[in-house]
């Protein structure tokens, strides 16, 4: 007998174009509707058909949001799945798939033949394989039939009655089969349902970002497609129309950034989205934003580089790039959210800081975060009221008025009687070219003066565990929040706690003291320990150990538990 309780990991594997993503989407949605906590993340190759991709769905009693190596149930839709995931398959893994596609395993493995092709044939179209698979999973979990039938009805409604009926039939076939094998193979799954979860949101990082920028009052996007940055562009193209969002597909990234800065200049609130390689081409534009003090918000969905690298995988190696992009020196801010609610929050904060301080602001995410889906209570989405901070200009308006706090009130052309000039040369208060060394110093210091306000408004890191009393502090940022939370919980050691930064630059003055007299372990998905370096530079912190990963996959909970155990 196999008993699973409170936490299962269900992995779907198949070739691109085989419907793995459909299965994931359906399954996750239905499970959430049933009241299960779900978290799903995926890894896939840079191709449109073929290859070998997989999605992990965790169904857990407690809320979880991290990747585990462990596979409890593996649905192998293709013969390459087993070799592809070999290392994660243990004798406890239950493999489901057509006999022919799950061979080549050691005899210990628990294989269940699921005749997908036969089912699909019975249904008259291989397209239904996906829904059958969903049904099988639900059967094993003994989900509530009514709930998924209802969901399928809604989901396929606009495709017509026949499609609805066929899909329900497919799901039921699978469901019956799933129940049957569970019984037959002695598989028992115990998972808690909760009514609260039924009513939760199901959000991917991408969706949280899209909703967050809308909440931030974003009304303009000019971008060029690049994974994993494209998701936001697509989201705004599809959802933005009713919000009056202008969507411009740029000819290249240079156009995108200059276009978007131009849009801000004229009073719009714009974001550009891209990945590291596309961002490289925006570097001069960042410097422009810096000197003309015209805001810009940049979303960088990180993936492993250098250059094309591994286009569909994950990494956190563009922090230094965001920190130092642009020749010359000027203030900036960088956010790195770790959960959908943080994504939603920092999207708004990014626009707030950009608009208030008239600087370039970055949102650093990564493929793993953007593609991961989880359920969360709607109340967790926090609103910041967006302010546009644009003034009506008077005749004597000076775009770069020298002020106490370095912020010169921002006018836009056509609003008020004043004239609004911006200039990429060093300039005077009226935005005209200057060659005066004194004016240069005044303007340079004025721009840098803004850093004080930006730092004051910096988000404090999130404390995980008892930071105050811990002697070892694990530091993480961006997408690694979930995995550190779970690993610490598993570890259950008093002396070890963690800090997660969803704003990585500037760092708040106040959190510096949290580091004192502790062993500092910095965990990040890159080779050189970029955030560790930043901590040294900003706080003078001495980093005791770096936990690094740079193979394109996210950290797993097991991996972190092992590494943290090895510390002590």
């Amino acid at each position: 007998m196999k008993r699973f309780s409170g936490d299962i990991s269900l992995v779907l594997g198949g070739a691109a174009g085989q419907g793995v993503q459909t299965v994931e989407a359906l399954l996750v949605a239905v499970l959430k509707r049933e009241g299960y906590n779900v978290f799903a993340c995926k890894e896939y190759m840079s191709r449109i058909r073929g290859g070998s991709n997989s999605t992990e769905i965790r169904v857990t009693n407690k809320k979880r949001s991290s990747f585990v190596d462990r596979i409890d149930f593996l649905f192998a839709m293709d013969k390459d799945v087993i070799p592809h995931l070999q290392k994660r398959i243990s004798k406890d893994t239950i493999l489901l798939g057509e006999q022919a596609k799950v061979c080549g395993l050691s005899e210990e493995c628990h294989v269940i033949d699921v005749p997908f092709t036969r089912f699909a044939n019975e249904l008259g179209n291989p397209i239904y394989t996906s829904t059958v698979a969903v049904g099988v999973a639900l059967g094993i979990l003994k989900a509530d039939e009514k709930v998924f039938e209802q969901y399928l009805r809604e989901h396929f409604a606009r495709k017509g009655e026949e499609v609805v009926a066929k899909n329900i039939e497919a799901a039921e076939k699978g469901y019956a089969f799933g129940k049957h094998i569970a019984y037959h193979e002695g598989i028992e799954v115990h998972l808690a349902k909760s009514q609260a979860v039924e009513d939760e949101l199901l959000l991917s990082g991408d969706e949280a970002l899209g909703l967050g920028v809308l909440a931030a009052g974003c009304n303009y996007i000019s971008s060029y497609p690049m994974s994993p940055g494209t998701g936001l562009l697509t989201f705004l193209a599809q959802q933005g129309k009713k919000f009056g969002v202008v969507v411009d597909q740029a000819e290249d990234e240079i156009s995108a950034i200059n276009h978007s800065i131009g849009a801000w200049y004229a009073g719009a609130r714009a974001i550009v989205t891209t990945s590291g390689g596309g961002f490289d081409l925006m570097v001069e534009g960042i410097s422009l934003s810096g000197i003309i003090e015209t805001p810009i918000v940049v979303h960088i969905g990180q993936r492993p580089g250098p250059a094309t690298g591994l286009p569909t995988r994950t990494e956190q190696a563009d922090l230094n790039l965001a920190l130092y992009a642009g020749h010359g020196e000027f203030p900036r801010a960088i956010f790195a959210p770790g959960t959908p609610e943080e994504v939603f929050l920092v999207a708004q904060q990014a626009f707030h800081i950009a608009a208030k301080y008239q600087i370039p602001v970055f949102i650093l995410t990564d493929q793993y975060l953007l593609d991961s889906v989880r359920s969360l209570p709607k109340e967790r989405l926090q609103n910041i009221k967006p302010e546009n901070r644009i003034i009506e200009t008077k005749t004597d308006y000076k775009r770069y008025a020298l002020t106490e706090d370095g912020v010169s009130p921002r006018g836009v052309p056509g609003y008020g009687v004043g004239l609004v000039g911006v200039d990429s040369d060093e300039h005077d208060e009226m935005a005209h070219i200057t060659e005066s060394a004194e004016m240069r110093v005044a303007m340079h210091e004025k721009r840098w003066k803004k850093m004080e306000g930006i730092r004051e408004e910096a988000f404090m890191p999130t404390e995980i565990g008892d930071v105050k009393h811990a002697d070892t502090l694990v530091i993480c940022w961006g997408s690694n929040r979930g995995v550190v939370e779970e690993a610490l919980e598993i570890l259950g050691q008093e002396g070890i706690a963690a800090l997660h930064f969803h704003q990585v630059y500037p760092l708040p003055e106040k959190s510096k003291k949290l580091f004192s007299k502790k062993k500092i372990v910095v965990l990040e998905n890159n080779f050189s320990g970029q955030f560790a370096d930043l901590l040294t530079r900003e706080y003078g912190v001495k980093v005791t150990e770096n936990i690094l990963k740079y193979d394109g996959d996210p950290f797993s909970v097991e991996e972190i538990v092992l590494k943290l155990k090895a510390l002590s």
Partner: protein
């Protein structure tokens, strides 16, 4: 008609152009055209890149976005979209527009926003001291090609026509009156309007002088059919006799800012509809 003086900078404003430079008349012409078309300074935005020509917006009283070298067009499009009520002019050099900014030049034409591109074409990189620009003539000696330019001269009119630009003109800064009319027509035109203006650089281009432009060029006459694209291309390809005037114009093609957004409310007035957002969020349940 607005008083042209309204565009004048305060007396004593330092100008970085050389005495005799062909940029002066263009500046003057732009002021006259704006005045005659009744555009209030605060409703006009000039976008420029970097170069001698690109300093233009510092010398007249309008709004301006003096951005990066080669990048005058992307912000110009954005400004027009963000506030369609503004008159938006991109004004930059030949190197800026056709060299560093060549990709934007092509893809701006494809979009057809209702903006004007005034290219100060001195066939040279002025600000960086006399290197060849894309429009430099073959054979022109310069610091980087001491034995003369070896690549083909860029043909802005032909490229614009090949991409179905709806207003393609060429002018000569030595002829104030006619150039003013051309620029006025460009501003009035609904859609992307290219005006390539021959602009003598008296310091670095000793080959293409006022005299040279005068001798080489002529105006297309009344009989010229502005809607005949192949004819326009023929004129564009003729490098011996340089046609001036509106070489090609076609009305009626929808402009980008009307296609990519609804209405013409300036975006600085826009705010997200929070109720709609609330509804959208609900759909993720």
């Amino acid at each position: 008609m607005i008083d042209k003086k309204l565009y004048d900078m305060p007396q004593g404003t330092d100008m970085a152009w050389c005495p005799g430079c062909g940029n002066f008349p263009i500046l003057n012409i732009v002021k006259m055209a704006l005045a005659e078309l009744d555009r209030e300074p605060q409703d006009v935005v000039i976008c420029s890149g970097i170069g001698q020509a690109a300093k233009t917006p510092h010398y007249l009283r309008v709004n301006y976005f003096n951005g990066l070298h080669g990048r005058a067009l992307p912000p110009a499009i954005a400004i027009k979209v963000a506030n369609p009520k503004l008159t938006v002019i991109a004004e930059s050099g030949d190197g800026d527009t056709y060299g560093e900014g060549g990709n934007h030049f092509m893809h701006t034409i494809r979009r057809n926003p209702d903006i004007v591109s005034i290219v100060h074409d001195n066939m040279i990189y002025g600000l960086t001291k006399g290197q060849a620009s894309p429009t430099s003539e073959k054979g022109l000696k310069n610091p980087i090609q001491p034995t003369g330019v070896i690549v083909d001269q860029f043909n802005p009119l032909a490229v614009a026509l090949s991409l179905d630009a709806t207003f393609v003109a060429r002018a000569f800064s030595g002829d104030i009156l006619q150039t003013k009319e051309i620029i006025k027509a460009a501003i009035r035109h609904k859609g992307y309007a290219l005006v390539d203006v021959f602009q003598p650089c008296v310091v670095f281009n000793k080959q293409n002088t006022y005299q040279w432009f005068k001798e080489k060029s002529y105006y297309v006459d009344e009989k010229h059919d502005k809607t005949d694209k192949l004819k326009a291309l023929e004129l564009a390809f003729d490098l011996d006799r340089l046609a001036l005037g509106v070489i090609y114009q076609r009305e009626g093609k929808p402009t980008y800012e009307t296609l990519v957004r609804e209405g013409d409310e300036p975006l600085y007035k826009h705010a997200t509809d929070m109720t709609a957002l609330e509804r959208l969020i609900e759909t993720y349940k």
